[in-house]
């Protein structure tokens, strides 16, 4: 899965999952529930919709607050995570998930101005 780290990943929310099946994505959401096995958890996005995230190994820490997940979208609409990042609530400015969602919409509405997909050479 290390190939995922080199490729541009689109930032998406739950509504866009279906358009990114089998593609590398970055998903930011607030922790909803963690499965008792620790291998999967659910995240709310800025619109309040829920996405499932599946891990290779079970979680070794408590997950709470805002999490950024890098992975690939499975054909069941879940994210197969290769890595994740916790954006801590107690450090810095609080993350505004709704504002992030607005920004996501702007990026997707104007892809011509946000050419993230173009891989930078070298």
């Amino acid at each position: 899965m290390s190939g995922v780290m080199d490729v541009p990943r689109a930032r998406i929310n739950t509504s866009m999952l279906s358009q990114y099946i089998s593609r590398p994505v970055c998903f930011v959401g607030r922790v909803d529930k963690v499965h008792p096995t620790g291998k999967t958890f659910k995240l709310f996005d800025g619109e309040g919709k829920v996405t499932s995230v599946e891990l290779n190994e079970p979680l070794e820490e408590e997950l709470s607050g805002i999490v950024e997940v890098l992975g690939v979208v499975s054909n069941k609409g879940a994210i197969m995570a290769s890595s994740y990042n916790i954006l801590r609530d107690d450090k810095g400015i609080t993350f505004d998930l709704e504002l992030y969602n607005e920004a996501l919409k702007v990026i997707h509405d104007f892809p011509q101005h946000y050419p993230f997909e173009v891989a930078t050479s070298g």
């Binding site: 400015i93 505004d96 504002l99 607005e102 920004a103 702007v106 509405d109 104007f110």
Partner: protein
């Protein structure tokens, strides 16, 4: 042949009402209103007399412009209003009129009318001015005198004994006729403004005073009472009530302290008397000449103006300490009127504390002081009168407009608010550095203020510090006398020390352009993260550490509030930009604003 209403001119001149008088138009003159619409001034005749102080209300301008009002035509006045100017002269504003006979059907002038001499003009009058000036129309309306009882029978203009004059047989005279050479007089006037009691204590002793402004049909005057008179009268006087006032002393007005239009002012003394008057219906409430808020930009700073508007928002009361170590309360509110423009008004003292801005009341201020703070702003000074929801036609008109459209409008403020980050209510003027050049900011007469988000790309550390006079409030550069003393030319003193102050030259840039700016003490300290005194020390003792401060400060991004102005030095004109304020970027507000702009652009 149509008969004219003889005697109508005399009646109108005396302030009496005449119903539907038929008059002949003798002459009509167009008066260019400058800032406002054109006005037409008419001379009318009733066959016996002529009078030239008739003004056509602007709603009837089309009649004049379509040439319906030609000299000699016969007109019937259906609705008119008499305004009394501050010097006692009367002007009849015609609100509705019919032309009953056009000029071509009339054989010349009817009768041999002579100009009616209004024996009313009194008081020190300057050279005759056309009545147009005080009737400056705003929003297409006529003069702003709130004169109650227009069409009531005055009939008391000549000094005559009032039926119920208490205290002897003093005759009531108009305020406009008061002068220092007469002592036995009584005026009947309404108090429009009563100040609070002010005390003072200086080398000559102590004292207290209060002042008020009174108004009657003829004009207004300022009245002051000292010491004993304060005790005698202060409790009796109530703003808005009418009193008989006699035997005050008159002297030339000290125009520095007041904007009241009278060459004299009155002082109460041991012989003065103030008696409440019950019959107050025909004494005007207050005389105001409202300026549209949009017009304030065209007025000079320090002008005294009357304004009326809707209080769109009001801030909390704050307390601050003045230079004389007095504590005073202060509150700001935003006033908007039908011009769509908004201005910040500052209230002080009790007025500030007691002000209730809930429900967006109509606020009128007489004699507010216009300042160029933040562009344009107003202050209710010691001598201003604040009225909330006043009972005047202008207020009702504003209320109606506001309820229908005004409430949805985002007023454009004339006052640049030094608010947090994005400027509360979106009043901040956001620009990019490229805009400064493309929009030629600063090229006008006045400096332009704007906010921008930019990154520091260069800081000039040479000559950023200078040695300044150590006296408080004096920041002038001192001259090193080389003998351990430093001389300040402004204070004309020598000191054994100085204080370091910063003048920092920096280059800031955004995605599109860059700009050289100058930062003074406060903003420089904010950017460098150190105070001037410490930096001065560092410069002398540890060059490396000093340089390090500048390295650290470089490439930081801030919200800059800047002032730009075109300045000319010896034939060369250059834009000078000064940083007024530096703040950290509020990214949340910034992103919201950017997204709003993106959506707006997308919709175009």
């Amino acid at each position: 042949m149509t008969t004219l209403s003889e005697g109508a001119i005399e009646a109108l001149s005396n302030g009496n009402s005449v119903s539907d008088p038929v008059l002949q138009l003798v002459n009509i003159r167009k008066i260019d209103g400058g800032n406002g619409p054109t006005r037409f001034r008419l001379m009318m005749s009733d066959g016996l007399h002529t009078m030239s102080s008739f003004m056509l209300s602007t709603q009837l301008n089309p009649m004049a412009e379509d040439n319906k009002l030609a000299p000699n035509c016969i007109c019937q006045l259906k609705r008119n209003v008499t305004n009394v100017l501050k010097d006692g002269r009367r002007v009849v504003v015609i609100l509705d009129m019919d032309v009953v006979k056009p000029a071509e059907d009339v054989d010349g002038r009817i009768g041999e009318p002579t100009p009616y001499t209004e024996g009313q003009s009194k008081g020190p009058q300057s050279a005759p001015k056309p009545p147009v000036r005080p009737l400056q129309p705003q929003n297409g309306n006529d003069g702003k005198y709130m004169n109650r009882g227009f069409n009531r029978d005055f009939g008391k203009k000549a000094p005559s004994a009032m039926p119920s004059t208490p205290g002897g047989s003093s005759k009531v005279v108009p305020i406009a006729s008061l002068n220092p050479y007469q002592s036995k007089w009584t005026v009947r006037a309404r108090v429009t403004n009563k100040s609070s009691i002010r005390t003072w204590s200086n080398s000559r002793g102590e004292g207290k005073l209060f002042s008020m402004e009174i108004v009657d049909e003829s004009g207004e005057i300022r009245v002051t009472g000292f010491n004993q008179e304060v005790d005698k009268f202060y409790g009796l006087i109530e703003t808005g009530k009418v009193f008989y006032i006699s035997k005050g002393s008159l002297k030339i007005a000290n125009k520095q302290y007041t904007s009241v239009k009278n060459d004299y002012e009155m002082t109460l003394n041991g012989e003065s008397s103030i008696i409440p008057c019950d019959d107050s219906s025909d004494v005007p409430m207050v005389q105001c000449d409202f300026i549209s808020i949009g017009d304030l930009e065209n007025r000079d700073k320090d002008a005294i103006v009357d304004v009326i508007g809707v209080c769109k928002s009001v801030d909390e009361v704050t307390r601050l300490t003045t230079k004389s170590s007095r504590e005073v309360s202060k509150r700001t509110l935003n006033l908007m009127d039908m011009s769509g423009k908004m201005v910040t008004v500052t209230l002080w003292g009790e007025e500030a504390e007691n002000f209730d801005g809930s429900g967006q009341p109509i606020v009128a201020i007489k004699a507010a002081k216009l300042s160029d703070f933040g562009g344009r702003s107003l202050s209710a000074s010691f001598s201003s009168t604040l009225m909330i929801n006043p009972d005047i036609p202008e207020a009702y008109k504003l209320r109606g407009w506001y309820d229908k459209e005004g409430h949805a409008m985002d007023g454009q403020s004339l006052t640049e608010v030094r608010g947090s980050g994005g400027g509360v209510g979106g009043n901040t003027n956001w620009k990019t550095l490229g805009d400064v050049k493309t929009e030629h900011l600063g090229h006008g007469d006045k400096a332009d203020y704007f906010s921008c988000i930019a990154t520091i790309v260069y800081l000039r550390k040479e000559n950023c510090l200078y040695q300044a006079c150590p006296s408080q409030d004096c920041n002038k550069k001192v001259v090193d006398q080389q003998n351990g003393m430093f001389r300040c030319e402004k204070c004309d003193k020598e000191f054994p020390n100085f204080k370091y102050r910063l003048i920092l030259s920096a280059n800031i840039a955004d995605y599109g352009d860059n700009q050289w700016v100058t930062c003074f003490q406060e903003s420089a300290e904010a950017i460098l993260g150190q105070n001037a005194a410490y930096l001065g020390q560092l410069k002398e003792s540890n060059e490396l550490a000093f340089d390090e401060v500048f390295q650290q400060a470089n490439f930081n991004t801030f919200v800059f509030r800047n002032r730009v102005k075109l300045e000319t030095y010896n034939d060369e004109s250059r834009i000078k930009a000064t940083v007024m304020d530096v703040k950290p970027v509020d990214y949340k507000e910034y992103s919201k604003r950017l997204m709003m702009n993106i959506r707006k652009l997308a919709a175009q």
